[in-house]
């Protein structure tokens, strides 16, 4: 068995810095994913909107990520760790169920109650990271926990201040709404178990996300069939929604980029640090809502104070996590979690460790790239173009100047973090 040579051309940035940058970039893109969906006017079922967005995620998966590494690389990676197929599909299913639960939670108890409840997902992820993958077992862990709690607290404050919904319906409905919100938080938080499992096994996030999208699309499609009255109804609704599908697909595309950054953060700094950082997307979502869509127009002074306080608390929490680099004893605990995976699934520890150091042992094997990958990328891009041609300009007022500023920041985070990832890890 061989150990691949260290990739001598890699830069020497700290992996903690790379992971932190990925977590922060994920936040900007996950928030940007929400913006196009705001343009979709009412009149469609939540399942249909979810299905449209996830279909966009699926198609987008065959554009940028395929262009980065190619399908040969992804297939070799999956063949080397086939046991992770099950985990990635389960993660996709967890996301789909969690996302559907959020729809019902908002319907029953309103966003201001539902959002803080499902936002506990980062604390759930932090707990699983500590329990199962021996994260936060060293000095500095208090700062991470404090930072994560601050981010959740800030997000709650933002949700409370920006939401106007009140609880409707009967007590039983409210209880079910609360159960749905808590259930969603549990689904999202538990979804990070497969994430971390994949990365301490040395898998590339591009490979993991590929399989993940199958589980996600399959589950969302099944839920749409069950809740939206069968295949005939879903097809008819999709046809009716075609003018709006481009915006959902665009949201899906942004989501793919954000999720990839989130996965790289989970790989290089663990879920306990990476997930709270990417959950600061609420802050960027607020910026989109307030600056581009004018959501706080006409609100009183107290609302603005709450928004300001929530934002400051979130930023302070993110700052605490950014500065809490894993100690040597914690890194040693991570290694023992990796050894467990290698032992159980017969993985080559040398290759896994190399991957976790930011090297790319798979690239040394030179997996083949095929001409038809270009056709695949072109076909996926063509779907976007086809939908864009048929897209209707939404009747929603936007502030174009602020939209330009936020898009610029989002693109800067893509280019900056993408370059950092390339220089330090070659997208390993």
């Amino acid at each position: 068995m061989t150990v691949s040579p260290p990739n001598s051309k890699l830069s020497s940035y700290s992996l903690h810095a790379v992971g932190v940058a990925c977590g922060l970039a994920a936040a900007t893109w996950l928030a940007a994913a929400e913006a196009p969906t705001k343009l979709v006017t009412v009149g469609f079922s939540p399942f249909l909107i979810s299905l449209g967005m996830v279909a966009g995620v699926f198609v987008a998966r065959w554009t940028v990520p395929v262009a980065l590494k190619g399908t040969g690389y992804v297939l070799t990676d999956i063949r080397e760790k086939p046991h992770l197929i099950v985990w990635a599909i389960i993660a996709g299913m967890l996301w789909a169920v969690g996302n559907t639960l959020t729809v019902f939670a908002v319907r029953n108890v309103g966003l201001s109650i539902a959002f803080p409840l499902w936002n506990i997902n980062s604390l759930v992820g932090l707990f699983w990271g500590w329990l199962l993958f021996k994260e936060l077992r060293g000095s500095g862990s208090g700062r991470v926990v404090g930072g994560a709690v601050a981010i959740v607290g800030g997000a709650c404050l933002l949700a409370y201040s920006t939401s106007q919904q009140t609880t409707h319906g009967q007590f039983g409905g409210a209880m079910l709404g609360i159960a749905a919100a808590l259930g969603a938080g549990l689904q999202f938080g538990t979804m990070y178990i497969p994430y971390r499992k994949a990365y301490i096994s040395g898998m590339n996030p591009l490979s993991f996300v590929t399989v993940f999208t199958f589980g996600e699309l399959g589950m969302v499609f099944a839920l749409a069939l069950i809740f939206d009255g069968g295949l005939h109804n879903v097809t008819a609704e999709l046809n009716r929604a075609r003018p709006a599908l481009f915006w959902l697909f665009l949201g899906g595309f942004c989501w793919v980029v954000g999720d990839l950054f989130q996965n790289y953060a989970a790989k290089y700094i663990g879920i306990a640090r990476g997930i709270p950082l990417s959950n600061t997307n609420q802050l960027w979502g607020l910026a989109w809502g307030v600056l581009v869509f004018g959501e706080l127009a006409g609100q009183g002074f107290s609302t603005h104070v709450l928004v300001f306080a929530g934002s400051v608390i979130m930023i302070a929490g993110a700052g605490a996590i950014c500065s809490a680099k894993a100690s040597e004893s914690e890194e040693s605990s991570w290694r023992s979690a990796t050894e467990r995976e290698c032992d159980r699934y017969g993985l080559d520890y040398g290759r896994v460790a190399s991957s976790l150091r930011g090297e790319d042992p798979l690239s040394a094997d030179k997996p083949a790239r095929h001409w038809w990958e270009l056709v695949l990328v072109a076909a996926a891009t063509a779907v976007f173009v086809w939908l864009a041609i048929a897209a209707k300009h939404p009747a929603v007022e936007v502030n174009v100047a602020w939209m330009g500023v936020l898009m610029f920041i989002t693109l800067v985070s893509l280019v900056g973090c993408g370059l950092l990832l390339w220089k330090r890890t070659h997208f390993s």
């Binding site: 260290p6 086939p82 259930g183």
Partner: protein, 78 residues
């Protein structure tokens, strides 16, 4: 007298030859394999071993259990 007693005694670690940088980076450098421990899940049939390793991994049942809880809540709330 045991045979090894005739050998020259050296301090522990002093006889380890440091590999030149380029030699240690060679692709064919052999790493001792970290193999499965005794009582391992790995049998002669790789597919069967893998299936067994997946199904007996206690961590697997946690997300599956959570997924079942989520679907149950979904059925109740719809």
């Amino acid at each position: 007298m045991p045979r090894q007693s005739k050998q020259k005694l050296v301090p522990v670690g002093s006889n380890i030859r440091e590999l030149p940088a380029e030699e240690s980076q060679r692709q064919d450098y052999i790493q001792p394999e970290i193999g499965p421990r005794s009582g391992s899940l790995h049998t002669g049939n790789p597919a069967r071993s893998r299936t067994r390793a997946i199904l007996t991994d206690p961590q697997l049942w946690l997300p599956i259990g959570v997924l079942i809880i989520g679907i149950t809540v979904l059925i109740l709330v719809k």
